[in-house]
Subunit: 300 residues, 2 copies
């Protein structure tokens, strides 16, 4: 099989292959790779896929209980009221949506996520959701594993949401996903102990410095490879780079309006904000142009 | 190689081999095994091994700063004052000892743990600490892996302490250890992001129902096999058993005063406390008699 077949020759491909070659000299315990999910492994536009799932859950819930539509956040979603949604803000919307899943067991939640992924189509491109992963990144995961890396997903999204599909989409074990957690309620049923979801987040949202902290607490090893696409990945990419040599930080630049979406993330620096690609330049990360470096974006 | 060579024929060995055979019919994602560490995989008497490490750390610290000896908890430890230690209680002692490691990086901590394990001898038996693991349990880990299980350590001890040695002693990756966590302090140095230990525990001590919750949040799959030896493992063992069939809960009974230590743990039930072996009988767990079921205890 060809090596990284969807990666065009260029600086990004070269940085990756050099890094992989050098890493072979390291003990296995040091070969640790962490990758963001939304916008790094799969498409995050026009909405986060988890957001689509929760909105779908809302529609199903309202069919059973119309009174839900009276709630401000749900009303705005059901009406597609962009002005109201903008005013409420994504975080308040997301927390309201998570309440819909309170009381579900982990198994119920995972099953509903899998049903959603199997049945629904991506609103922007009309493709099944499992086809919204980036083909070149699947090849990169394969190359990392082929070089003895333990590969982890470190996502700002819900841990359980990504775990429900990580094995099928990426070949990543559920426990190798680190994301934002919900609190569980522990119950003793007749049949033994059981857990059900609450609507509360547990600890910090997994973005920025929290990604670094959760890599230590949940994985316990320092990555020497990190990939991301947004300001929320900055600290994780810096952390990998600061691990010494060889190390590699990869930033996916969404610059392909035709085949995917063109948009930019801004990083907060010590004096101002700057495009995350400029941060990458200053800090010696490898920037991947989706337009120039990838011959295909999505799997056939 | 022989299968479970240190397990004598009997009910315990039979329950394990039947369970392993039946598990082969399950999809790989369901083959999840969790094992306690102290008293289940390695010896926990006369002290927890982590406790020995921390007391050793105290002795080294006092050499540099004699004033530490003025602190009540440290004084009692340095004097070996059993009455004072009993009055202070293990938890207060342990927290005071953890303060000695505040400010260390994760790498420093892991290195000191490994140095300790390599250099020191077990006070009860005079053997090197790495020889204080139970040979039959190493064989069980091997058998589980041979049947396609993902094997995790779920310990009440410090996550980072066990991670420092889990690969060498048990062939378990650091991220496959779930224990009690410390809080980290996130710092930006000149060279990039860094983490240092604080003296605060993060979240719940990993015992009892917390083990069940952390299995969900950190691993995300329900175990069908669990092994433990104390009341702190009860909920985890019940959780595995309640997963449906096939499932197996194994309780190690420390009944071998000659070759190891003889002691009993008590479980709190809905009306009273009872020996954990009685709980095991009521709930259909397999009880392993170290005296009768194991032909050897420690590796040669």
């Amino acid at each position: 099989m060809a090596f990284l077949p969807s990666w065009r020759p260029g600086a990004a491909r070269e940085a990756i292959t050099s890094f992989l070659d050098e890493s072979l000299a390291l003990p296995p315990d040091q070969r640790v790779a962490v990758l963001d999910n939304d916008g790094t492994l799969w498409c995050e536009k026009p909405n986060y896929i988890q957001y689509d799932f929760l909105v779908r859950t809302l529609h199903a819930a309202v069919e059973h209980d119309a009174a839900l539509g009276d709630r401000t956040e749900y009303r705005a979603l059901l009406d597609g009221d962009r002005a109201a949604l903008g005013e409420l803000g994504l975080q308040r919307i997301a927390l309201a949506l998570l309440e819909l899943c309170a009381g579900w067991t982990p198994d119920e939640f995972a099953e509903r996520v899998r049903d959603f992924m199997a049945a629904e189509k991506h609103p922007g491109r009309g493709a099944p959701y499992p086809k919204m992963v980036y083909q070149p990144m699947l090849e990169l995961l394969e190359a990392l594993r082929g070089h003895g890396f333990d590969v982890f997903i470190v996502t700002g999204g819900g841990t359980e949401f990504v775990r429900a599909v990580s094995r099928d989409l990426y070949g990543v074990r559920p426990d190798d996903v680190v994301g934002t957690l919900v609190e569980y309620h522990y119950e003793q049923h007749g049949g033994g102990p059981a857990l059900v979801r609450t609507a509360q987040a547990q600890g910090e949202v997994n973005e920025g410095w929290a990604k670094v902290e959760h890599i230590q607490t949940q994985l316990g090893r320092r990555p020497i490879f990190a990939a991301g696409n947004s300001a929320g990945d900055r600290e994780m990419l810096e952390y990998a780079r600061a691990a010494g040599m060889p190390s590699l930080a990869v930033l996916i630049d969404h610059d392909d309006a035709e085949r995917e979406y063109a948009y930019a993330s801004a990083a907060v620096t010590f004096r101002d904000t700057e495009p995350i690609t400029a941060t990458a330049g200053r800090l010696g990360w490898s920037v991947v142009s989706m337009r120039d470096d990838w011959s295909v974006i999505f799997p056939a």
